[in-house]
């Protein structure tokens, strides 16, 4: 964790912007530390013979009204400029943190009042606020620092407030509160570390702005007073003689700009570094690399199909480029479906089941790539770019239902309108008949009050209703296949039953095939005639639902036993699958399930079993599929 955070900063510094910012910042700080030690004598040496001279070999930037060397004064002035800027930043950040975290330590009500005050202060222009404070605190360096500091505070407080509000709503804060951890400790241990990075980045940028603002105040004569001098004062003095000695004013201005830029660039680079998730360079370098694939297994479904397959998939692979080479979360998946069939795919999260569905629908986006030996829907080849040519076919004959129906609808359009659009686009219907069909389809999915609901917006419908409307949208054409990806996971059990029943009755009445994807093997077994079990991107078992009690893969057995039902023996512990699902980037040579399998032996760990048919319409990929129940270690039954 810490190493990862450290590397973010390092990565930020490797970018050109970050490197420039950091280098400039180092120079500025070195000057601030060393210049007064080395050159303060030269900078204050008065030479009345050399008053207001232009640039010469002795005085590169000329001299001022007392004959002092401007270059040395500029270098020595760095310390005061930077110190004042850092001081103002410290005051601003400190005050901002205190104000921004008030809801945490004063409670919600007082926090709201402070928040309102901060919001009003944010509305004032910063410079106006600084001038106001400068007048209040009096003219001089201290006044200027306080003024800029307090001018910074509201903006910083607002940022802190927002970040704190985001973190304070998380459960770990609530858990700490319940455990009796005090407000102060919650703030220091839980809140601040989790919002620290954006605050630090912002403080860097704020410091740059403070430097500029302080130079401005000194320039106006409101800041540093003689005999002390900072860049703002130097600029004001050299501006008087700009016609005699333009280089002095120019160099001083440049110093202010460069130092300000150093802070800002550094902050920008780090901010961008924190936002980086996947380095785009790695994506480019991996593109086009073909992933090695296992040879496609012989297709054997038992009885040969007379009827042509509605959907035929063979050797389907989905791969994504990653920072450490391409990963293949879906490996060599094959399935075939006939009209009116119902097939379920089950697996844990990360097993590749949803990606399989997306690949069939042609919805895998760049940089992901789909390879298949065969990917046919109603006889049309959907591989590669050909999917575009079959858009019309997909639009009318293929429907997809997603887990979150709210995200699949356009929130600004009425439900009926969105359904009607499908009919206008793909069936060429005019507006009125399309609307009529939309209402009819909503009635077909038994949406109560279909006509009224069609005129409502998606957020006005409950989760179950939206899911039905989504299915209704799939029925706008004459679909031959509905792919439902976790359609009931977000729904309550009673509503889940309604939606599953609806899918089942559509299948029965309209002869539509259904491919149902779920993590819950019981859901799949309620609806589907056939179940495909996926693990680590592969199909490990494929069997008719009625044969589930006699399943042969240890993973399928464990999945069945892991879910308690109303007949589970309460006096015995539930069967668990030890370990955790395997990450697509670390697939082993042998069987991917071997590390979690009670039957695994040396052979399993070295040779990946192929998916073989048993002649009864079942396929299984396991070296120990024929082990008798007595040999099955850890079998719950």
């Amino acid at each position: 964790m810490r190493a990862k955070r450290g590397s973010t900063w390092v990565r930020a510094l490797r970018t050109p912007v970050g490197a420039t910012g950091a280098a400039l910042l180092v120079v500025v700080f070195l000057l601030a530390a060393l210049a007064p030690v080395l050159w303060s004598a030269q900078a204050s040496a008065v030479d009345t013979s050399q008053i207001l001279r232009g640039s010469s070999s002795a005085h590169r930037l000329g001299t001022d009204s007392l004959g002092r060397d401007i270059l040395y004064r500029l270098l020595v002035g760095t310390r005061l400029s930077v110190t004042l800027a850092l001081g103002a930043t410290a005051i601003g950040v400190g005050a901002g943190l205190v104000l921004g975290t008030t809801p945490m330590w004063l409670g919600a009500r007082l926090g709201r009042i402070v928040g309102a005050a901060v919001n009003i202060a944010v509305a004032f222009p910063g410079l106006l606020l600084a001038l106001f404070f400068a007048a209040v605190f009096g003219i001089g360096a201290t006044g200027a620092v306080l003024a800029i500091g307090f001018a910074i505070a509201p903006g910083f407080a607002r940022l802190t407030q927002t970040l704190v509000a985001r973190v304070a709503g998380l459960d770990y804060i609530a858990a700490a509160r319940i455990a009796g951890v005090g407000r102060g400790r919650v703030l220091i241990r839980h809140v601040l570390p989790n919002i620290g990075e954006p605050l630090v980045v912002n403080a860097t940028i704020v410091a740059g702005n403070a430097l500029l603002a302080l130079a401005g105040l000194s320039f106006l004569g409101l800041g540093v007073q003689a005999p002390a001098y900072d860049w703002g004062r130097l600029l004001a003095e050299s501006l008087n003689s700009i016609y005699i000695n333009p280089s002095a004013a120019f160099a001083t201005g440049l110093a202010v700009v460069v130092a300000g830029l150093a802070f800002n660039l550094f902050g920008e680079a780090v901010a961008r570094g924190l936002g980086l998730r996947t380095p785009s360079a790695a994506v480019v370098s991996d593109r086009g690399r073909r992933t090695p694939r296992a040879p496609a297994p012989a297709r054997a479904d038992g009885a040969p199909d007379r009827e042509p397959a509605l959907l035929a998939v063979e050797g389907l692979c989905v791969s994504f480029p990653g920072p450490r080479g391409a990963t293949t979360p879906v490996r060599d998946v094959g399935l075939s479906m006939r009209r009116g069939a119902s097939v379920g795919i089950v697996g844990e999260s990360g097993s590749g089941k949803s990606l399989t569905a997306l690949a069939i629908a042609g919805l895998i986006e760049e940089p992901g790539r789909v390879d298949a030996d065969r990917l046919e829907f109603l006889g049309a080849d959907l591989r590669g770019d050909r999917v575009r040519a079959h858009r019309h076919l997909l639009g009318t004959s293929f429907a997809m239902v997603f887990q979150d129906p709210l995200a699949s609808f356009n929130p600004t359009m009425r439900v009926g309108r969105q359904l009607a659009e499908v009919a206008e686009e793909h069936l060429g219907l005019r507006r009125a008949p399309a609307w009529a069909r939309a209402v009819d389809r909503l009635r077909a999915v038994r949406l109560p009050g279909a006509e009224r609901r069609a005129r409502q917006f998606p957020h006005e419908l409950s989760g179950g209703m939206r899911q039905r409307a989504m299915i209704g949208m799939g029925l706008m054409g004459t679909p031959a296949l509905i792919v439902a990806d976790e359609p009931t996971t977000a729904l309550d059990v009673t509503v889940q039953r309604q939606v599953l029943r609806l899918l089942e009755s559509i299948r029965a009445t309209e002869h539509v095939a259904i491919l149902l994807i779920s993590h819950d093997i019981t859901v799949v077994s309620h609806v589907c005639e056939r179940v495909l079990v996926m693990y680590a991107g592969r199909v490990v078992e494929d069997l008719p639902t009625v044969d589930l009690p006699r399943c042969r893969h240890p993973y399928t057995r464990a999945l069945l036993a892991a879910v308690p039902d109303l007949a589970t023996d309460r006096s015995r512990p539930l069967t668990v699958i030890p370990g955790r699902p395997i990450d697509p980037s670390e697939y082993p040579v042998g069987c991917a399930f071997a590390p979690r399998c009670p039957l695994a032996d040396e052979h399993c760990r070295h040779v990946d079993p192929a998916l073989v048919a048993d002649g009864h319409g079942r396929r299984v990929a396991c070296w120990h599929a024929d082990a008798t129940p007595a040999e099955r270690v850890g079998d719950p039954n």
Binding site: A174, R177, I178, D520, S571, V576
Partner: protein, 343 residues
Amino acid sequence: MSELRFSGVTVRFGTRTRGLTAVDGVDLTVASGSVVGLVGESGSGKSTLARAAVGLTPMVSGRILLDGRPVRAPWRAGPHRVQMVFQDPYSSLDPRMTVGASIAEAIPRAIVRNGVTRRSEVARLLGLVDLDPDRADQYPAELSGGQRQRVAIARALAARPDVLIADEVTSALDVSVQGTVLNVVRDLRHRIRLSMLFISHNLAVVRYVSDVIAVMYLGRIVEVGPADDVLLDPQHPYTRELLAAAPRPGATPLGPPPGDPALRRVADAEPADPHHPREGCRFHPRCPVGPLVRPERGVCREREPATAEHRHRAACHFALPASHEDSHAPSDEGGSGAPTPAH
């Protein structure tokens, strides 16, 4: 060994005119050493009830008593005897703290003063939830969902609570690791005799761990009783509906939709909107034995059912009278679920 008692707990959100009563006069008792399972759909107010019990959500009226005394609010010093485990183990652990530090933070000072080192206490707690003590130095990101959830349970146990509230602790987990968490919950009951309020929308999960089952619908407890009684002899039609939807081996709960159009309408009805509670019985728009199917049952539209006189305190006009119940469950004066050991 302590009893958590909710009496007349009401929680409202929002303003008087546009508000929503999330929990509406709930009476429920978690008896000493028992596990009460609370089931209901989303929006039924079960999580709000849990948050009220640990003081995260203020009540409008009613009291939550632990052994007769009000539950201590968060931020107050002293032992916090009611602890809670949250639904999402990905947001309930501070990503910047090691697992051990998160647990150690919740250990009361009094325990450390008695010569127990924080480190050994953390190891003991990790052992209670079947995790290796070496995990203490890992960050949450290095753990799977099931392991994180067990760490969250260990942290809740660190405060040595008398009552543990588990709010949908398995619903964010993959089915394959759900079992590890349920086994830990079940073990804890036997090992440290903790009183527990176990909240879930899944009746089969609740059945596996609970002695008493309470069913919540739109802010009200509509049925409560010993687990086996409620499951074998449900009195409220909503409980029956939940039972029908729960997985059970062999039998498919997905029968064909009912032939009777009235029944079918009821079966397709949407969950009620808590912003606009219905007059009379709040379940009547979805009830398969209510006024939409049997027109003569007008009483359901007009009067809210009383609970006291029915078996399992079922909030249904047509539940069996309580007199039948005498042989089943011991009646305490609140009538609330006294535990009967389920085995």
